[in-house]
């Protein structure tokens, strides 16, 4: 048994790590589910919660009429019903708000209820609505009616127009040869055939309203990220500085906050690993002449000096922590964030593009990212385990079976990454 303090800390560390992993897995599972669904057959009208896996299983199967629905079945059914109701309500609400706009250009293209459109033929005139929205001034985007009106008018270009799709770039603009189908969710019969992304993915087109909103979105983000400054902004910066200054007055502290200490320690940790790496390079290098030898010596001394500086800085931080009773890494936050990628301090808020050329390249990239994260965590855990366990092993007095068992476990954890284990044999065979 390990001492209580040690147990608590190590347990907490490991559980944090496990939870972080599980959370990532959950996130990934969620997005995987979406992707998988996309790659399956696109049903013309799917229920609001289309699942690959069994939904309610009560009345579907004639083969087992004797079965009574379980509480679980009933619960599932109830949830489904609720979802359906909600969906219907939303649609009604949307169609109401949309009606005003539609009424002008579109008479029969109603989306109100499945019954009305179930047998309605395809309306090529349905384009009217979207055309109208297209020609509206950009200001119109902020109108609340837009989402209902133009959406989602372009789901799939009809097969007949595939020839016009020759170049993908051109497909962005609905030309005169393209028919924009009205495929409201409730009027699915207008597009009765199911298809897969693989077969017809190339014919998909984003709805106009969405395209507009998205392009506006990226323009706005770009504006937000731009560092253009005007007079008023300069003045605002000055005002903010003054404000901060005034707030600060009356505060006798050294100006180091716990968050800063955290950042600083993270930096020093990184420094330490970089220094160690550099040292390794230097020690394994084979100097060819006296000049290289001298440089090697200087480098080692220089590294030693830097390590000293870092240590000094750390002592300052320590003093600050103790003196001000700062609480870096409060409970409930991951202390193990050793990573600090060293990348851009200039903040670009909108996502940049990352270009990949093949699935394999993407996989390599993704697994490398995870490897790096995993190694970061391993190193952190290794250090924590070293700090907690090595003293136990080297100080525990009674070197009996318990100590030996501890040694074995510690060896496995610290030297073998927990994957392999050593054996301790008695020198004299037992009787």
């Amino acid at each position: 048994m390990l001492p209580a303090g040690c147990s608590r800390r190590l347990l907490a560390e490991l559980r944090d790590a496990l939870d972080a992993c599980a959370e990532r897995q959950r996130q990934l599972e969620r997005s995987l589910r979406v992707s998988r669904r996309l790659l399956r057959v696109w049903e013309p009208a799917e229920p609001p919660a289309p699942e690959p896996t069994p939904g309610p299983k009560t009345n579907e199967e004639a083969g087992s009429p004797a079965r009574t629905p379980s509480p679980q079945d009933l619960k599932e059914l109830e949830l489904l019903t609720q979802a359906l109701e909600k969906a219907v309500q939303v649609r009604k609400g949307l169609s109401k708000t949309g009606e005003r706009d539609r009424a002008s250009s579109l008479k029969s293209g109603s989306v109100a209820s499945p019954a009305t459109t179930a047998s309605a033929p395809l309306h090529t005139s349905g384009r009217g609505g979207s055309q109208a929205s297209e020609t509206k001034p950009p200001r119109g985007i902020r109108r609340t009616t837009v989402p209902a009106k133009g959406f989602p008018e372009h789901r799939l270009l009809s097969v007949g127009d595939r020839t016009c799709m020759g170049r993908g770039a051109r497909a962005a603009k609905p030309g005169p040869g393209l028919r924009d189908q009205q495929i409201a969710p409730s009027a699915a019969s207008q597009s009765p055939e199911a298809f897969t992304l693989k077969e017809k993915g190339i014919l998909l087109q984003l709805p106009m309203a969405f395209r507009k909103a998205a392009s506006q979105n990226s323009r706005l983000w770009a504006q937000l990220s731009s560092t253009e400054t005007g007079d008023s902004m300069d003045a605002a910066i000055t005002a903010k500085t003054q404000f901060l200054h005034k707030m600060q007055s009356g505060w006798p502290g050294s100006g180091l906050s716990a968050a800063e200490v955290e950042r600083e320690v993270g930096r020093l940790r990184k420094a330490c690993s970089l220094l160690r790496l550099r040292m390794g390079e230097e020690l394994t290098a084979d100097p060819k002449d006296w000049m290289q030898e001298y440089r090697c010596l200087l480098t080692l001394e220089g590294l030693q000096a830097i390590a000293g500086q870092c240590l000094h800085r750390l002592q300052e931080l320590h003093a600050a922590v103790m003196g001000q009773q700062l609480v870096p890494w409060p409970e409930g936050r991951l202390p193990s964030a050793p990573s600090f990628c060293g990348g851009g301090t200039d903040t670009i808020w909108s996502p940049q593009l990352l270009l990949y050329s093949s699935t394999q390249e993407l996989q390599t990239l993704a697994s490398l990212r995870l490897w790096v994260a995993m190694l970061d965590q391993q190193i952190h855990l290794e250090k924590v385990l070293m700090a907690e366990l090595l003293p136990l092993v080297s100080t525990q007095k009674p070197r009996g079976p318990r100590w030996l068992a501890l040694c074995r476990a510690v060896h496995s954890l610290l030297c073998e990454g927990g994957e392999h284990f050593l054996t301790i044999l008695r020198d004299t065979p037992a009787n």
């Binding site: 998205a214 706005l220 040292m279 931080l317 320590h318």
Partner: protein
């Protein structure tokens, strides 16, 4: 242009503050009523709950989706206080506010303003809750590690555990990582398919194909509608944020008056006296490492220095020049090394979220970061980390071997290396 705007501003002077506050409140999560700010100036208690909530949203480590139920007022207040404290908030008065969330609206307004003044808070908040249209992949680990929220509170097993239990958890962790890698590989495979099947579908030529979110909005019109709504509300917030930028000066001028109306904050904060062992030991951990490193360096450098001195005793002045050149070169090299951790400079490592775009080999060259470049960076980083881990393990092996050596009567048989 600037002059024209200034004139407009002056003309609008009377309405300028309300407009600025309105822009701010539209930008902030949950969109607090502008009236709250006005009331807070006068420290009116009815404004307090909204501000506690707002600050909680702003400071909570989990991006506020609104989906998660917000905790009880006491818990909110505690988190707000401790977060502000850890970030170095300078006023002690905040700490003395009652935690039921009933009072302190002015103090809270000051805190919010302090946060706003310190850095790009609004941008951060917007970025956190950004509608993700593209398939994103962060290229560094900054973001990934921040993402998992606060760990679920565990029922800490009382007292002591068997070391085998730790081995068990460690093993579990290894499996989780491996499962994660497998899932990630699958995700990449699926993304690759979706991207190539929809090539040419995107109106934005630099993207060319649809992302999962975009394809999903076509597949599930209902979800698509919601996405569009979220996108538009984000656009509205973005516009508000830009407007805020143009108008914030007047807000700060106003805040001066709010601050002026406050009684001076005399006392130092005296709350949260406990220092968890973790914080201190974190520092110690690094300190130990640095000490060990320094010691190793000393051991390596000293004999070399001695040997060197003995050898170069009689060398002439022409050597001096070369010596100086070397010294300078090493100095610069080490300075560069130091810069690499001090301000994130030096290593130009890609950073932040990126939207994935599939682009045929050879077609690369548009705006954007080629994956190959990121892979190179990550490879070298992985190699560094592996070396570091091996070094630590080697260190432990030595230490344990030393202990084993001091114990007669036993033979230690390490696992056979292949």
């Amino acid at each position: 242009m600037g002059r024209r705007r200034r004139r407009v501003d002056r003309a609008d002077a009377a309405g300028a503050l309300p407009a600025a506050i309105a822009a701010l409140s539209r930008t902030l999560p949950g969109g607090p009523s502008p009236e709250t700010f006005r009331r807070a100036k006068f420290d009116r208690p009815e404004a307090a709950p909204a501000l506690w909530r707002l600050l909680f949203c702003v400071l909570s480590p989990v991006p506020a989706d609104g989906a998660a139920a917000s905790p009880a007022p006491v818990a909110q207040a505690r988190l707000v206080k401790s977060e502000l404290r850890s970030q170095g908030y300078p006023r002690g008065s905040l700490a003395r506010l009652p935690e039921d969330g009933s009072q302190g609206s002015r103090e809270l307004l000051l805190a919010l303003s302090w946060l706003l003044a310190r850095g790009p808070l609004l941008e951060q908040l917007l970025a956190q809750t950004r509608v993700r249209l593209g398939d994103e992949m962060p290229v560094c680990e900054c973001e990934a590690l921040a993402s998992p929220g606060p760990p679920a509170p565990h029922v800490e097993a009382d007292g002591c555990v068997d070391v085998r239990h730790l081995q068990w958890l460690m093993g579990k962790l290894r499996f989780r990582w491996r499962n994660l890698i497998a899932s990630q590989q699958e995700q990449c495979a699926l993304l690759g398919k979706i991207h190539s099947y929809t090539r040419g579908c995107h109106s934005d030529h630099s993207l060319g194909h649809l992302s999962v979110a975009e394809a999903e909005l076509l597949r599930d019109p209902e979800g698509g509608r919601q996405l569009l709504q979220r996108l538009e509300s984000e656009n509205a917030r973005l516009e508000a944020a830009l407007e805020w930028r143009r108008r914030e000066l007047v807000f700060w001028q106003w805040m001066d008056t709010v601050l002026g109306a406050c009684p001076p904050d005399a006392s130092q904060p005296t709350f949260l006296p406990r220092i968890p062992a973790r914080g201190a030991s974190e520092l110690e951990l690094v300190a130990q490492e640095l000490q060990a490193l320094q010691e190793e360096l000393r051991k390596a450098a000293e004999p070399r220095r001695a040997a060197w001195e003995a050898r170069v005793g009689g060398w002439g002045p022409e050597w001096k020049a070369a010596q100086r050149a070397s010294e300078e070169a090493v100095r610069q090299e080490l300075a560069a090394l130091q810069r690499s951790w001090e301000h994130g400079g030096g290593l130009a490592q890609p950073h932040g979220p990126h939207r994935l775009v599939r682009s045929e080999a050879g077609m690369l060259g548009g705006p954007g970061l080629p994956a190959a470049k990121v892979i190179t960076v990550l490879r070298s980083r992985k190699a560094c980390l592996e070396v570091a881990l091996r070094q630590l393990q080697g260190q432990c092996r030595q230490e344990l071997a030393r202990l084993a050596g001091a114990l007669p009567g036993f033979i230690w048989i390490p696992p056979p290396g292949r």
